[in-house]
């Protein structure tokens, strides 16, 4: 398991005249689980896409290892090391298997095989289905299996449980726990914060452009999530 640290600073983004993110700082480490909360339209998606190198911010600096550079100079590296999962996953035309094979084709160095991914995300029963026809929960599972195959340093998930039933949520949680255990850095934007209490190491709130660290003592509705985490195994 490799150790890493990505520190973003001064992330600022504006749509026309509206500032959605202002001087935000966020650090991601190996095996660290960060929960990102915020109201609709707060800028969570924007922030995750900037971190993934998919969307150009007005301004941002990134510290990787010991080297601090402008976002633009690190963009290629961010695209290599980070992976962003859309709230509504986009699966390519063709079967589930084709989607997984595609991931392997563009990641020839992957240390996982197709069979491992199928077993890991329990896709055996839908592997031959046309991906476009899957249910929302099944699509999420394929999307996370692609992340497993890609094996990035960090995954950024955009409301991965928004359309899932209870059983699927638990399943998603298990998969994320395994990824975290394997040393992957995880950032999740979610409106379902209590779901991740057992996994989260840090909780950030995006509000009126400001990204603030919710201190452990600022309990959410009486749940002391720091103690909750201590009790959970392996977290």
């Amino acid at each position: 398991m490799s150790r890493f640290r990505y520190a973003f600073q001064g992330i600022t983004h504006r749509y026309r005249t509206r500032t959605v993110i202002s001087e935000a700082r966020i650090t991601v480490r190996d095996g660290q689980f960060t929960l990102l909360v915020g109201d609709n339209g707060a800028g969570k998606t924007t922030l995750l896409k900037i971190m993934a190198g998919l969307q150009r911010p007005l301004k941002a600096e990134v510290l990787i290892g010991e080297v601090q550079r402008d976002w633009r100079q690190w963009r290629k590296r961010l695209m290599e090391d980070f992976m962003y999962l859309h709230q509504q996953p986009y699966l390519f035309d063709g079967s589930v298997e084709r989607n997984l094979r595609y991931t392997l084709r563009v990641n020839p160095q992957s240390c996982h095989t197709l069979e491992q991914a199928i077993e890991w995300a329990d896709l055996g029963s839908i592997i031959d289905q046309p991906a476009k026809n899957l249910s929302g929960g099944e699509k999420q599972r394929v999307a996370i299996a692609r992340a497993f195959l890609r094996d990035p340093k960090v995954i950024l998930l955009d409301e991965p449980t928004a359309n899932l039933d209870q059983a699927s949520k638990r399943r998603m949680l298990e998969l994320l726990e395994k990824l975290k255990g394997g040393g992957m850095g995880i950032v999740i934007a979610s409106h379902d914060p209590d779901l991740f209490l057992s996994l989260q190491d840090e909780r950030l709130q995006l509000r009126r452009g400001r990204l603030t660290n919710l201190q452990p003592r600022e309990k959410i509705e009486g749940v002391d999530w720091i103690n909750h985490r201590r009790r959970s195994p392996g977290g």
Binding site: M83, Y90, T103, R146
Partner: protein, 235 residues
């Protein structure tokens, strides 16, 4: 009416017995138009992709120019190239007037705006997430470009068939640039124009039948594709 039915029977004979003169003309038509469309596809796809994915000054203007060029009459395109290629024109040294190459150039120019406009529509119809997903899964820009091509392949096929349909049947540019030379630049439309004016209906009708059949086949393909094209996914 006896004349007409005789001509029709004669025409069918020409086609079915594999009449050399008739089939040579058909061969020239397909050869020239296939070469034209094949050489137009790569630059047209690239142009459409750039127009779909990048915002730059003059983009809107370019799009409306291509759209307007779709309906420029073939004779005007022929005339323009004729002036350029004629003995005293700027490209006169190429000695290309009245060759198949000149016809290919004319048909290239005729199909290019159609290919660009229709491929642009296809690229714009595909979800923004398709590109982002390919990139964040680790595809480089070239791989992501081909992924997009695959996602919109039915729309692109439609563009190709429409472009081919326009140039295989156009008479203006072929006549001016090819010169209607027997066994060299005489293609289906120019042969029909000539034979009919000479009162030789049989060959004209035979070639007309080929064009009508082709129109039906192309249309059947377009129809089938438009059904495959309807989105199965409601997001």
């Amino acid at each position: 009416m006896g004349n007409l039915s005789d001509a029709l029977i004669e025409a069918l004979k020409l086609l079915l017995t594999g009449d050399d003169a008739t089939w040579t003309i058909i061969g020239i038509s397909f050869r020239v138009s296939t070469l034209a469309i094949l050489s137009a596809i790569p630059p047209a796809l690239l142009t459409a992709f750039l127009l779909a994915h990048f915002r730059f000054p003059g983009r809107k203007l370019l799009i409306s120019i291509f759209s307007a060029l779709m309906s420029v009459p073939a004779v005007v395109v022929g005339l323009t190239l004729f002036v350029l290629l004629s003995r005293h024109g700027p490209l006169g040294d190429w000695r290309m007037l009245f060759t198949q190459t000149a016809m290919v150039m004319g048909q290239f120019l005729l199909s290019f705006p159609i290919l660009v406009s229709m491929a642009l529509a296809a690229f714009q119809s595909v979800d923004q997430r398709a590109w982002e997903t390919a990139r964040t899964l680790g595809a480089d820009p070239m791989q992501a470009f081909f992924t997009l091509l695959h996602e919109v392949r039915f729309g692109l096929m439609t563009a190709l068939l429409a472009g081919f349909g326009r140039i295989i049947a156009e008479v203006g540019a072929s006549m001016m640039l090819g010169g209607n030379i027997l066994n060299y630049t005489r293609n289906i439309p120019t042969a029909i124009a000539l034979e009919t004016s000479k009162g030789n209906f049989a060959q004209g009708i035979a070639l007309g039948i080929v064009l009508v059949l082709l129109a039906f086949v192309l249309n059947a393909f377009l129809h089938a594709l438009s059904h495959r094209n309807t989105p199965q996914e409601a997001v």
